[in-house]
């Protein structure tokens, strides 16, 4: 059966109300960024110790989820799974929207966001950050081309090779994002090649969770029907990705634990790191991985769409907890300049650094997230992105 795509035509108060809420939060985010720019970053919770804070947690979440959101399109184009084809367009749009939201946060958090032109015209090709600027902008161009080829029926046969290229590009892109941290050899919390593949698996899960929520939301807003068989497939996939994350987290910490030079850091994250230990065990592992697995696989809940929505929300909160522990927990633990010595100074050497995010950072982060959702919900209204209905699978 041929899939028919159409713009969502709802004029329901829910749709416009949601757009209004997203627009207001986005505007507040821009205002918060402007305030940080004018006042200086001292009004944020960030400091010379914790130099990347909550905005970076939001930004990395969105960038990682962006590459993962493209999965459904890749499954259709690269792996020839025809049943995912009707969802490919939305998958592409969502990935671009999430990436734009994440990049907007990174840009607006810069000390000098007005120097965007410098970032575009001056490249240090040894910098993984500079590679990422190319990878991110390239991703947007490639996925836009991919989307166009999927929508232009005369050129549709080209969508497969371009889809393969996009898939390869997104794997490199997420490796690049993980390597922003993996390449930091001086810090015990990072300095690991494992971070690149771990970020790829994280992107699979976070991106799919965002995709499922947004898909259900747009279908519901436009009163379209979604067959339960599609949800079942996505549910199984999501569970698999959750297990993948657990595997990499286990491997990462075991590797660190094996060398005694990292015991102090591991003790900090796993045992006595206060907020970071709680975030790790309760929010990342317990609520963000184990409970979703139970909801996704247990015979009792595995046919309820609500349990799927709940699992997605839990995975997303677990994603934030995980990135908070990686990004901020990693900086809270002090650099070890003199092994075997206790070190102290007026510059917070040798102590656990404190960080409490300010309202400005929270607004900037939320603004980036809502700007992505705003873009996605607006595009599905003006372009034929979503299938009119998703009938059950033929088999």
């Amino acid at each position: 059966m041929r899939t028919i795509y159409s713009e969502i035509r709802t004029s329901s108060p829910q749709y416009w109300g949601l757009l209004a809420v997203f627009a207001v939060i986005t505007a507040l985010g821009i205002a918060a960024a402007h305030r940080m720019e004018v006042e200086g970053h001292h009004i944020s919770g960030m400091s010379n110790q914790v130099v990347w804070g909550l905005p970076h947690v939001f930004a990395i979440f969105l960038i990682v989820a962006a590459s993962g959101a493209l999965n459904l399109a890749s499954l259709a184009s690269v792996f020839n799974k025809a049943e995912y084809k009707p969802l490919a367009r939305f998958s592409a749009i969502l990935s671009i929207a999430l990436l734009i939201g994440g990049l907007a946060i990174l840009l607006l958090d810069l000390g000098r966001p007005d120097r965007l032109i410098v970032a575009i015209t001056h490249y240090n090709f040894k910098s993984i950050f500079a590679w990422n600027i190319l990878l991110y902008s390239g991703f947007i161009v490639i996925v836009l081309a991919y989307l166009w080829l999927m929508m232009e029926r005369r050129l549709e046969h080209w969508s497969r090779p371009v889809g393969m290229f996009a898939f390869a590009w997104r794997l490199i892109l997420t490796s690049g994002t993980g390597s922003i941290f993996g390449f930091l050899v001086a810090r015990e919390a990072y300095d690991s090649a494992l971070l690149a593949p771990m970020f790829i698996v994280m992107s699979f899960a976070f991106g799919l969770a965002m995709f499922i929520l947004l898909l259900l939301l747009s279908f519901r807003l436009d009163r379209r029907e979604l067959d339960a068989s599609h949800l079942q497939r996505l549910r199984k996939l999501l569970g698999l990705f959750c297990i993948g994350i657990l595997y990499f987290v286990l491997l990462f910490h075991l590797t660190k634990l094996y060398g005694s030079q990292n015991h102090a850091y591991e003790r900090f994250i796993l045992l006595d790191g206060g907020v970071y230990t709680w975030l790790f065990w309760l929010f990342q592992i317990g609520l963000g991985s184990l409970l979703p697995l139970l909801l996704l696989y247990s015979a009792r809940w595995q046919h309820s769409p609500r349990s799927l929505v709940l699992a997605c929300l839990l995975i997303i909160q677990g994603a934030f907890a995980q990135l908070y522990v990686i990004i901020i927990g990693g900086q809270a633990f002090p650099l070890n300049l003199f092994p075997g010595y206790r070190v102290d100074s007026s510059f917070f050497d040798g102590v656990i650094n404190t960080y409490s995010p300010s309202l400005w950072e929270l607004l900037l982060g939320c603004g980036g997230l809502t700007s992505a959702l705003l873009i996605a919900l607006l595009v599905v209204r003006v372009l034929p992105i979503l299938p009119q209905n998703l009938p059950g699978a033929q088999n």
């Binding site: 010379n48 110790q49 000390g111 001056h122 240090n124 950050f129 300049l337 007026s346 050497d349």
Partner: protein, 252 residues
């Protein structure tokens, strides 16, 4: 007749062609020869590019001396740091080391180590973080976008981000809100006085014959710093990272 005409008409054209070809060849080849000669000169010449560095003798530094280093740097470059502020810049700081077993204490100044392979330069997306030919690691305040990746990468916590609006800047040390900064090795003094320069921190503590902080050219085997390194040796902090810091410590 005909041959005469030919000669008259053809010769100027041929001359122009030969002249043009010669000019073109000169334009194309001469700079290459010149560059080749320059390249040869710099690799064989006696005057090698200096690599400026510091040798810090921690045994000769009291706690008050290290405080004096910090104050001298603040006066020289116009930065100051409120006690307990997590956002104020610190170009140089006093570290107290206590041996975990014996309790023995030492004080030392810690600042940018002016690495030969600086991680901050590697990671900087715009190339604002750069190393001069003479080994001094600096931040170009015009191209720094304030991403703070260099602060994540620096093994020595040597860099600060400017979180607040600045007042009363000094001409020798231009700074900028929203950008990153660190010790410049008093580059303005070095550019003025060369090998005879004395960074502000060294000036504050050097008394008499023995220099507690010795500035000099690590590339010149005859320099005082190279001689003292040869006879007494020194420690590179976090030598395991292989970044080859230009600041060395004695007595650790």
């Amino acid at each position: 007749m005909a041959t005469e005409l030919d000669n008259i008409e053809i010769r100027p054209a041929r001359r122009r062609f030969v002249q043009g070809a010669a000019a073109l060849a000169t334009t194309l080849i001469a700079p290459g020869i010149l560059l080749y000669k320059t390249g040869q000169a710099s690799s064989n010449g006696a005057a090698k590019t200096p690599r400026w560095g510091l040798l810090i003798d921690t045994n000769a530094l009291s706690e008050a001396d290290v405080d004096a280093c910090v104050s001298a740097c603040q006066r020289e470059h116009g930065w100051h740091s409120e006690a307990g502020s997590a956002t104020d810049a610190q170009w140089i700081r006093k570290l107290r080391l206590s041996d975990e077993r014996s309790g023995q204490q030492q004080f030392l100044p810690m600042m940018c180590q002016h690495c030969a392979d600086p991680p901050c330069v590697d990671v900087c997306p715009t190339g604002a973080s750069f190393k001069r030919d003479d080994g001094i690691v600096l931040v170009n305040k015009h191209t720094c976008i304030g991403c703070r990746y260099c602060m994540m990468a620096c093994p020595y916590k040597a860099r600060s981000f400017i979180h607040e609006t600045l007042y009363d800047q000094l001409p020798v040390a231009p700074r900028g809100k929203g950008t990153v900064e660190s010790c410049t090795l008093c580059v303005h003094r070095i550019d003025r006085d060369g090998a005879n320069a004395v960074p502000a921190c060294a000036e504050a503590v050097n008394r008499g014959e023995h220099k507690a902080i010795l500035f000099g050219d690590l590339n010149d085997p005859q320099s005082e710093i190279s001689q003292r390194l040869k006879s007494h040796g020194a420690t590179r902090i976090r030598a395991d990272l292989g970044v080859d810091p230009g600041v060395r410590y004695q007595g650790l």
